[in-house]
C-alpha cells in the first residue's frame, strides 16, 4: 500500500506504547502519539527522530482528535483504563481498526481479572461496538521490539479478530515491527492469547528470562 496510513497510539509513552511507536516509525505510517504523561513525550519524540530521521511522527494532546485523524487506533494502555479511553474515542473510532494490546493481569501476576468466558479484547469490542477490534502485540514483551529475533529465531506475534481486511492491515503492522505475524482466529481466540502471555510472564518470573522472551511455534 502506497497511501500512508495514520496510526494513533493511545498511551504512547508506556513501555509497550513507546516500543510500538519506535518500531512502527520504520514503516510507511504517520504516527500520532497521545499520552496523559506528557513528561516522557519529548524524550520519545527525540529518540524516534534520531533513530529514524524520515519518520512522520507527531504528538497530539487529545485522544479524540488523534483517533479522529487515525485509520488505526492502538490502545496501548492497561486493561483498567480501557473503559475511560473507549468513552472518549467511541464516536471517532466508528468502523476503524482498534488494536487491543492489553493483558488483563491481576496485581500478583498469577491470574487474569477477566472471567473465563471473555477477554480484554472482547470487553473492548463491547465498549466500541462499531469498531473493528483486533488483538495484537499482547504476546510480545516491550523488550522484544528492540530485539524481535531471540536465540536466532524470529518471535511469533499472534493476531485475533473478526474482520479480514482489518486482520490484513494489522498483520502488516506486526511485520513492520519485526515479528512473524500469525493470525490465530476470531476475536474470542484473544482469551487464549491473553492466557499465553500470562504463562510467559509466570515462566519469566520463575526462570528469570529478564523480560526478553517470546513465543515460537515449531512446525513442519
Amino acid at each position: 500500500m502506497r497511501t500512508k496510513q495514520t496510526i494513533a497510539i493511545i498511551g504512547a509513552t508506556g513501555n509497550m506504547g513507546s516500543a510500538i511507536a519506535k518500531s512502527l516509525s520504520r514503516g510507511n505510517y504517520r504516527l500520532l502519539l497521545f499520552t496523559s504523561d506528557k513528561s516522557k513525550l519529548k524524550n520519545l519524540e527525540e529518540e524516534i527522530a534520531s533513530a529514524y530521521p524520515g519518520a512522520d511522527v507527531e504528538s497530539i494532546n487529545c485522544s479524540y482528535t488523534a483517533s479522529w485523524e487515525a485509520d488505526v487506533i492502538i490502545v496501548a494502555t492497561p486493561f483498567a483504563a480501557e473503559k475511560e479511553i473507549a468513552d472518549k474515542i467511541r464516536e471517532v473510532a466508528n468502523q476503524k481498526i482498534v488494536v487491543s494490546i492489553a493483558n488483563p493481569l491481576n496485581d500478583s501476576f498469577d491470574g487474569l481479572v477477566t472471567p473465563p468466558g471473555t477477554s480484554a479484547a472482547e470487553e473492548l469490542q463491547k465498549l466500541l461496538p462499531h469498531s473493528k477490534v483486533i488483538k495484537a502485540f499482547n504476546t510480545t514483551f516491550a523488550a522484544d521490539f528492540a530485539q524481535p529475533v531471540i536465540d536466532g529465531k524470529q518471535v511469533d506475534a499472534f493476531i485475533a479478530g473478526n474482520d479480514s481486511d482489518a486482520l490484513e492491515t494489522v498483520k502488516e503492522l506486526v511485520q513492520t515491527a519485526g515479528f512473524n505475524p500469525i493470525v490465530a482466529g476470531d476475536l474470542p481466540v484473544s482469551r487464549i492469547l491473553e492466557n499465553m502471555q500470562l504463562l510467559l510472564i509466570r515462566l519469566g518470573i520463575k526462570y528469570n528470562y529478564n523480560w526478553l522472551a517470546g513465543w515460537k511455534i515449531l512446525h513442519q
Binding site: M1, R2, T3, K4, R30, T65, W68, E69, D71, E91, V92, N94, Q95, K96, H130, D165
Partner: protein, 192 residues
C-alpha cells in the same frame, strides 16, 4: 459529525431516525490535513469520501509528471476513484486534501451492508452515481464544444468558491490549460 451528510441524503430521500442510526454505524469519521493523501495511485480505493468540511482534489499524473485534475470536491461533494471503488482494481487517480478537511468515509462493504438494511438508500446511491455520470458528460461536452471563456464561466458556477480556495495553476490543470493560457482567458472575460 455527519450533519451535512444526512442533510444531503434528506434532499433526495426520506429516512426514519432509526434508519439514520443504522447508516451512522457504518460511516467512518476521518480528519485529514492539507496536502495529505486520502488515496494514492496504485492502491485500491477502499472508500468513497463525502466532504463535511474542507476541499480535496482527484488527479492523475502522466508519464512526464504533469498533474491532470479530474475533480474538485468541496462541502457536500463526494470524491474517490469511482472505477477503483466499484471494481476493486488499483486506482489510477490520487486524491489529496487542499485544505484541512473533515470527511465521512464509506467502504464498499459498508455500502453493501447499508443497502441490505436500508433499501431506501438504494435510491440515494443511484442518484449519486447518476449525478456523477451527468457531471462527467457535461465536463466532456464542455471540453469538446465550448469556448475556453464559456468553460471557465461554467466552472465558476459549478464551484462558486473555486477561485478563492484553489490556486490558479490547479484550475488550469482541471481545464487542461497552461496557467498562462488560463490567465489570458480570465483577462478576456474581464475585458468584456
Amino acid at each position: 459529525m455527519y450533519e451535512l451528510f444526512f442533510k444531503k441524503v434528506a434532499e433526495k430521500i426520506t429516512l426514519t431516525p432509526a434508519q439514520q442510526d443504522i447508516i451512522k454505524h457504518y460511516l467512518i469519521p476521518k480528519k485529514i490535513r492539507k496536502n495529505q493523501y486520502l488515496l494514492q495511485e496504485g492502491d485500491v480505493a477502499k472508500h468513497a469520501a463525502f466532504v463535511e468540511k474542507g476541499a480535496l482534489r482527484a488527479y492523475s499524473v502522466d508519464d512526464r509528471g504533469t498533474e491532470h485534475i479530474i475533480q474538485f470536491a468541496f462541502e457536500g461533494w463526494t470524491i474517490s476513484d469511482l472505477y477503483s471503488f466499484l471494481t476493486g482494481e488499483p486506482a489510477t487517480y490520487n486524491v489529496d486534501a487542499l485544505e484541512d478537511s473533515e470527511l465521512v468515509l464509506i467502504s464498499k462493504a459498508a455500502q453493501d451492508e447499508i443497502l441490505k438494511q436500508v433499501p431506501e438508500y438504494e435510491a440515494y446511491n443511484r442518484l449519486q452515481i447518476t449525478g456523477a455520470y451527468l457531471a462527467m458528460q457535461k465536463r466532456l461536452t464542455a471540453m469538446l464544444s465550448l469556448s475556453l471563456e464559456e468553460r471557465y464561466i461554467n466552472l465558476t458556477r459549478l464551484y462558486p468558491n473555486l477561485i478563492q480556495r484553489v490556486p490558479q495553476r490547479m484550475i488550469a490543470s482541471y481545464m487542461g490549460l497552461t496557467p498562462e493560457t488560463l490567465s489570458r482567458v480570465r483577462r478576456k472575460i474581464k475585458d468584456k
